[in-house]
């Protein structure tokens, strides 16, 4: 109980301190360009009143959901295959390692040329940003799998798809989920870049649009705050996956 209180009270205290120093710093600097916390809150209120806040959150979540889930559906099987079949690994891994470090921002021109400026282009960028971390972590999960599970399975005569379904996949799952959690952070991270394309909604768009709107840095920071908060919620949700019995063994005793 005490610990729970600690986990609620301490972040609140830190948050209050941060907000206060933010406020004081803005006041001391004498700048009226950078907004104070109250101005950001007012900006958020204004957005909420116009109904834009909900629209933008929904739009960003929509793009991240599709891009990210597509990345999971492609990345996990691909990673499992690469981790298991050496020829596939030899053939594809160099190219994955080449593509992986390319920032989604660099892909923006390609995305526009291929998909135009509808929702497809940002979805594609978010997909790109998340598919490589997911693939690589799934691949590593298979490669680092404890040999004893594999031997036990082979001993029971398992092979082919059955071996994959009943042993390799579940044995790799905890590490895959960790990879997915990291990738979701990345996917959410690139939402601003992805919405630089001429979509006209979303939290990333809010930031870019607010820059075009003259001195509306309160909205820029409001967009940043919302992205951060939703990122936190997403992380908490994914962490819940780690509590499932099928994977809990993979995270040590906590």
């Amino acid at each position: 109980m005490n610990r729970r209180v600690l986990h609620i009270v301490l972040p609140l205290v830190t948050g209050a301190l941060l907000l206060t120093s933010w406020h004081v710093a803005v006041k001391l600097s004498g700048s009226d360009i950078f907004p104070t916390p109250q101005q950001v809150l007012a900006g958020l209120g204004e957005l909420a009143q116009q109904g834009l806040l909900l629209k933008y959150i929904v739009a960003s979540l929509f793009r991240v959901s599709w891009g990210f889930i597509a990345a999971v559906l492609v990345g996990v099987p691909l990673g499992l295959i690469l981790g298991w079949f050496r020829p596939a690994y030899a053939a594809l891994n160099p190219f994955i390692q080449i593509l992986r470090p390319i920032s989604p921002i660099a892909w923006i021109p390609v995305a526009i040329l291929w998909f135009g400026v509808k929702d497809t282009a940002p979805v594609f960028l978010i997909f790109l940003a998340s598919v490589f971390p997911i693939t690589v972590s799934s691949m590593a999960a298979v490669q680092n799998m404890q040999q004893v599970y594999l031997r036990a399975a082979q001993n029971f005569g398992l092979g082919g798809l059955e071996l994959f379904r009943r042993v390799i996949f579940p044995a790799a799952l905890p590490q895959i989920i960790t990879g997915i959690r990291i990738a979701l952070g990345v996917a959410w991270l690139v939402v601003v870049a992805a919405e630089m394309i001429a979509v006209n909604s979303g939290l990333g768009y809010l930031i870019i649009d607010a820059r075009n709107a003259g001195k509306r840095y309160d909205l820029v920071v409001a967009g940043m705050v919302m992205i951060g908060l939703i990122g936190l919620v997403l992380d908490v949700l994914v962490r819940r996956l780690e509590k499932f019995d099928e994977v809990r063994w993979g995270y040590g005793q906590r």
Binding site: V148, A152, N155, F156, G157, A171, E246, V247, R248
Partner: protein, 260 residues
């Protein structure tokens, strides 16, 4: 023991095993000219110093490693990979942590009808004394209980032969004693053939019909000690102590380079 009327289950003839060394051409010889026989229903222990290659030998017999040279027959056939009728019990515990006790024990039975599977699982859970833990996950069990799950999984799958590679090595002393007597009880009830590797001489003497003593690397089977004592064994009996001391002696003599 009179072997003439008993069927040979495991036959190893002139088995050699070497691995490539770090430098090209250099080979590390692990096993040299190993011969052994195990008959149906027999409980045989292999003891030897740590790292002597006894585990390698068991892995060859189990089909997980391929010998460099020699002939290995198990159940009248050349070993060609692992076989569901001959289950390996691992020291590091091969119980699947993502499955419940029940699901683990039923792992080798998925091709069987639902009712038969449930019955067998229930039977073996009772046999290894895990009633009440059917729905538990391995992480919720103690090391000894996990090892019992693995044994039950092998038995439930109707394995005729069990290969056990220091299965109790990671357990504490009391649990180890308990597991030994449980294993003997189960073995007597099921009449499986067991080939059991350990570095613990006391363990070997408590369990086996016969103890095969291996030398240091490159290892071979140096001597065979028959333990013709009634079970449950009295650890203070003169027979037990004599057998134990005999093995100590063989392994100790090894240090002087002597041989039988």
């Amino acid at each position: 023991m009179g072997n003439a009327d008993m069927q040979n289950i495991i036959t190893v003839r002139d088995c050699w095993m070497s691995f490539a060394g770090k430098e090209p051409g250099a080979e590390i010889h692990v096993l040299e000219q190993v011969n052994l026989d195990v008959v149906q229903g027999e409980f045989v222990c292999i003891v030897g110093p740590s790292g002597c290659g006894k585990s390698t030998l068991l892995n060859i017999i189990g089909g997980f490693l391929e010998e460099t040279r020699g002939e290995i027959y198990v159940e009248n056939a050349v070993v060609n990979g692992p076989d569901p009728g001959r289950i390996f019990v691992f020291q590091e515990n091969g119980v699947f942590p993502w499955l419940t006790v029940e699901q683990n024990i039923g792992f080798g039975l998925l091709s069987r009808p639902e009712t038969e599977r449930a019955e067998r699982v229930k039977h073996y859970i009772a046999m290894v004394g895990l009633n009440g833990f059917e729905k538990s996950y391995p992480r919720e069990l103690s090391g000894g209980m996990r090892q019992r799950v693995e044994i039950a999984r092998a038995l439930a799958a109707d394995a005729r032969v069990l290969y056990m590679d220091e299965p109790f090595g990671a357990l504490d002393f009391l649990t180890r004693l308990k597991m030994r007597s449980d294993l003997i009880r189960i073995w007597q009830a099921e009449k499986k053939t067991i080939l059991f590797v350990t570095h613990d001489i006391e363990e070997a003497v408590q369990l086996a019909d016969r103890v095969l003593v291996m030398t240091k690397r490159p290892a071979t089977i140096q001597e065979e000690v028959k333990i013709d004592l009634p079970r449950p064994r009295d650890l203070d009996s003169s027979g037990y102590l004599a057998a134990r001391d005999r093995i100590f002696e063989i392994m100790g003599m090894d240090a002087h380079g002597g041989g039988g």
